[in-house]
Structure formats: structure tokens, C-alpha cells
């Protein structure tokens, strides 16, 4: 009887899609126990940091000048009451 149960179990299991096999059937909140991901090497980390130089468009420079201080708040204007468009 016991081998039969094991066989039955195996058959049932075999019927599942491979990717569904590790599904949780009972929830008890815990931590990630799936496949462990690789870890970056220090060399890769350094490369990544160096690569960030490309995210700037060159060193920031503050220009001299006595123009009006930009407001950065464009306002909609340009329509006067009663205009025909």
C-alpha cells in the first residue's frame, strides 16, 4: 500500500508544470527561500559607480550675470477679455 501511495504521489506531482512545483500551499509568513541570486563583485560595483559619470552633462557651472532671477513658474497669460479667438 505504501509504495502505491508514493507512486500515486509521484504521478500527481509529475502532472504539474515544472514551474509550479515550488508553490506554497500553506501560508506562514517567512523569508525568501527561493534560488539565491548572485552577488556583485567589487569590481562590478566600481564600474557601476564610474559609469554614473555619464549621467551628468558635465560639471555644473554657475554663470555670472545680473539678469532677472528666473522664476521657473511660467504663467498662462495672453488672453484679454472679450477677445474673439
Amino acid at each position: 500500500m505504501k509504495p502505491l501511495a508514493v507512486l500515486l504521489g509521484l504521478i500527481l506531482l509529475g502532472g504539474c508544470n515544472a514551474e509550479e512545483r515550488s508553490h506554497v500551499v500553506k501560508l506562514e509568513k517567512g523569508g525568501y527561500t527561493g534560488t539565491a541570486d548572485g552577488v556583485l563583485s567589487d569590481a562590478t560595483r566600481l564600474t557601476l559607480r564610474q559609469r554614473m559619470a555619464w549621467l551628468t552633462d558635465g560639471p555644473a557651472e554657475v554663470a555670472a550675470g545680473d539678469g532677472p532671477a528666473p522664476t521657473a513658474t511660467a504663467t498662462v497669460s495672453g488672453r484679454i477679455t472679450g477677445q474673439n479667438y
Binding site: E19, S22, H23, V24, L27, K29, G30, G31, Y32, T33, G34, T35, A36, D37, G38, V39, L40, A43, T44, R45, T47, L48, R49, R51, M52, W54, L55, T56, D57, P59, A60, E61, V62, A69, P70, T71, A72, T73, A74, T75, V76
Partner: protein, 196 residues
């Protein structure tokens, strides 16, 4: 080494969606799935601001906290990833995520039950780096190649920054100082009661 972070500079973002198509291009993300999206607030009105949003790779990620099958994990560099073999596509992370990052394919074989898909910070998944399995399930792994997420690397105005958090903030701070006015970061106005 700080954690990997994105930052979108709203003073620069022009809603060109270059980040969106760069992502689609890099990972062959199909129609209907948007790991990254640009949103515009106050569209057509003064104060209009655009921001590019994807998974923010939270330090204390809500998705991770609520996932019933614990399919999420964080890499040593703070990138929040998930394991599609474990994911059951329940959508609970969708509830939890403050940014609407998780995506659910509507059809498909593997995704027949709607496995979740999201931004990987171009770091692939738990499979062996550059393996066929990783490419198939999560897209390319740029981080392992020593490259940053393509969305940020290709950003039209260099508004979207990605990488080591301390360096992101250095680049950004330098810019804000040069500007000498306000901040382009979203939430600035809210935080400081200032317009913009």
C-alpha cells in the same frame, strides 16, 4: 556602498518617454506591460510637472512585506527583485505598492495565471546571470555587466538618475546648487509649502 536608487528630476523631465521605450527595447517588454511610465501632473496648466516612475526599490519594500509566498528578495545592493517561479500572481503587492509598479500580463502561457512583472533595475532575476532562463523571465542583466539601468542611461535630458544612492544625490545636489532655485524633485513643494 549605498543602495541602488532612482531619482527623477522634475525640473528636467520633459515627458518624452525615452525611458519607457528604452526599457521596452532592452528587455523586449511586450504590449501592455510598462515597467516604467511617465506621469504628468497639472497637464496643460501652469505648474505642469512630469516624472518617470517605476519600481522605486524601497529599502523597506511593502511588496516584500505583504507577499504571501515570499517571492521577493533584495540584493546586497538594495535592488528589490522577485522570483517568478514562486510568484502566484495574486496582486497583493499591487495593493501595497505606493507607485503602481507591479504589472500583470493579461494572457500568455507562463503568465496564464498572471505572474507579476516589474522593473528589475536591469538586474535580471535569481537565475544565473546572463543565463537563458534569466533572459527569458526577467530580461537583460545590465548590472552584472557593469552597466546602469538603460532608462537612466538614455534619458533625453539626464533627468532620470540611477545608481548608487550617494552618488545620485551628489549629482543632483550639484545641479540644484547651480540652479540656485527651488528643487526639481517631486514632493519638494509639498514638503516645503512652496510652489513647484
Amino acid at each position: 556602498m549605498a543602495r541602488m536608487k532612482f531619482l527623477c528630476d522634475a525640473e528636467r523631465c520633459i515627458h518624452c518617454s525615452g525611458c519607457v521605450t528604452a526599457c521596452k527595447n532592452e528587455h523586449e517588454v511586450p504590449w501592455g506591460i510598462n515597467r516604467r511610465r511617465v506621469v504628468t501632473l497639472n497637464d496643460g496648466k501652469p505648474g505642469q510637472r512630469s516624472l518617470s516612475v517605476a519600481c522605486m526599490h524601497c529599502s523597506d519594500a511593502p511588496c516584500m512585506a505583504v507577499c504571501p509566498v515570499d517571492c521577493f528578495y533584495q540584493t546586497n545592493d538594495g535592488i528589490v527583485l522577485h522570483n517568478k517561479d514562486l510568484c502566484i500572481g495574486c496582486g497583493y503587492c499591487f495593493y501595497a505598492c505606493p507607485f503602481g509598479a507591479p504589472q500583470y500580463p493579461s494572457t500568455g502561457n507562463f503568465g496564464g495565471r498572471g505572474k507579476m512583472d516589474k522593473c528589475t533595475f536591469c538586474a535580471g532575476g535569481p537565475e544565473v546571470d546572463h543565463s537563458k532562463a534569466e533572459l527569458e523571465k526577467y530580461g537583460r542583466n545590465r548590472i552584472a555587466e557593469g552597466k546602469l539601468p538603460l532608462c537612466a542611461e538614455m534619458c533625453a535630458t539626464k533627468a532620470l538618475l540611477a545608481g548608487d544612492g550617494d552618488m545620485v544625490s551628489t549629482i543632483y545636489r550639484e545641479r540644484v546648487m547651480a540652479r540656485g532655485f527651488g528643487s526639481g524633485a517631486a514632493g519638494w513643494g509639498q514638503a516645503y509649502g512652496k510652489k513647484g
